[in-house]
């Protein structure tokens, strides 16, 4: 029997005790202290800001991505979590440790450039916003079907993380602007 979908409501400010566990922001291992996933370990950090440019604390940032070989979930590396959670601090900053995802299949014969799906939940967000973090200096970005479908270059560029170093591990910055100038490209799923 067809059922109508349950609607979204805000996560509110008091979710920490229920939703956050130790090492949730480290995707490189399935269990704390367990074996490390294959691939290049990287760090993603960023700041979440509102329409006034003010930092947004207590925002849940949820990540889902393919493993280093481009496989998701149970199809992939058994040591890779694939799914992770971080919460923004008082400066609106979050941080995730993960591995560089591999390219994954897209519609038709296309390939999608390496990317991480990010969903954000917070007070003042009645429903989540969903975006994707892509990586700089990836030749595949120009062929990526999702990036290519965004005609406005300034909007498209909000989806490309910035390189913060050339060291090991490589660090990337992916800021998220909820509203106004530089507003991040969000997707309607």
């Amino acid at each position: 029997m067809t059922r109508k979908r349950t609607g979204s409501q805000t996560i509110g400010p008091f979710f920490n005790v229920a939703l956050l566990r130790e090492d949730d922001s480290d995707l490189t291992r399935r269990t704390p202290g367990g074996p490390q996933a294959e691939g290049e370990v990287i760090e993603i950090r960023g700041r979440v800001t509102d329409g006034d440019g003010a930092p947004c604390p207590s925002v849940l940032v949820e990540a889902w991505q393919a493993d280093a070989a481009g496989h998701h979930g149970t199809e992939g590396d058994p040591n890779f979590a694939g799914f992770g959670r971080a919460v923004t601090d008082n400066d609106g900053c979050y941080q995730l440790a993960t591995v560089m995802p591999g390219p994954v299949p897209g519609k038709g014969n296309s390939w999608q450039a390496p990317h991480i799906s990010l969903s954000l939940f917070g007070s003042g967000l009645l429903k989540r916003v969903t975006t994707r973090a892509y990586f700089p200096d990836q030749d595949m970005n120009t062929e990526d079907p999702v990036l290519s479908a965004i005609s406005d270059g300034s909007v498209r560029s909000t989806l490309i993380a910035k390189s913060l170093n050339s060291g090991n591990p490589r660090k990337f910055e992916f800021n998220i602007v909820l509203q106004g100038p530089g507003e991040t490209a969000f997707f309607d799923l």
Binding site: Q9, P13, S117, F121, G124, A149
Partner: protein
């Protein structure tokens, strides 16, 4: 090269009436956090159609009445329901996380500065993983209402629910309300869903038969996620 298109996995068009808008001025904190640009339609790819799989949780993680040395204060309730897809099929292996205020409407959280007592026997958070029928259950107490800081309105009694898996599109965070609560009519968060039928789906059904006789009252709350459960 192989054709990647797996057409049958693309989900049906979304029911736009189910969710609130981003901007709902009566809930003031949406004003600066609502994106100004409409979200970009995204045809689902393997990234959106997959998600984490969870193993069954530990016994007792869904019993919020057993987290202290003795029972928490409040009216004991059992909340049961199923996590379903839009065809009514069960989502098995979904992680259901629930959190709530205590009977005095106070959260165990540093930022809840309201002048109301904590209950030493109540933490207010639980989790469980849905079984093959999509079923979940929690044992807890009915939370108290609480005033919204710097506002005229109070939040009605509610349980916060988070359901994760098995896909990014199916991900949902929502709140469950209680039938007949007079505060619902003035709650800007509940009323942010414009469609009356859609918002009434957030109200649990009073189901005394689901409680333990002489011990707890029962409520039924089914959660319907976007998309289709995996075969």
């Amino acid at each position: 090269m192989a054709n990647h298109d797996t057409g049958e996995r693309y989900f049906p068009a979304d029911d736009e009436t189910a969710d609130p808008p981003y901007l709902h001025a009566d809930y003031g904190s949406t004003v600066k956090k609502s994106p100004a640009r409409p979200p970009i339609p995204l045809e689902h790819t393997i990234t959106e159609l997959t998600g984490p799989v969870f193993e069954a949780g530990q016994a007792g993680e869904n019993d919020l009445t057993q987290q202290g040395g003795s029972l928490p204060i409040g009216e004991r309730i059992d909340v049961r329901g199923r996590v379903l897809d839009e065809d009514g099929n069960p989502y098995a292996g979904a992680l259901v996380e629930m959190w709530q205020a205590n009977a005095a409407g106070k959260y165990r959280h540093l930022n809840d500065g309201r002048d109301a007592p904590l209950d030493p026997n109540f933490i207010g958070a639980g989790r469980c993983v849905t079984d093959a029928d999509g079923a979940y259950s929690f044992k807890t107490i009915r939370p108290g209402a609480y005033p919204v800081p710097d506002s005229e309105w109070w939040r009605p009694a509610h349980l916060h629910f988070s359901v994760t898996g098995p896909s990014v599109v199916a991900r949902l965070i929502t709140q469950m309300y209680f039938p007949g609560d007079p505060l619902l009519g003035a709650d800007a968060i509940y009323k942010s869903i414009a469609d009356q039928e859609a918002r009434e789906r957030l109200i649990a059904r009073f189901a005394p038969e689901l409680g333990e006789r002489g011990r707890s009252l029962g409520y039924e709350f089914d959660i319907v996620l976007r998309g289709r459960a995996r075969d």
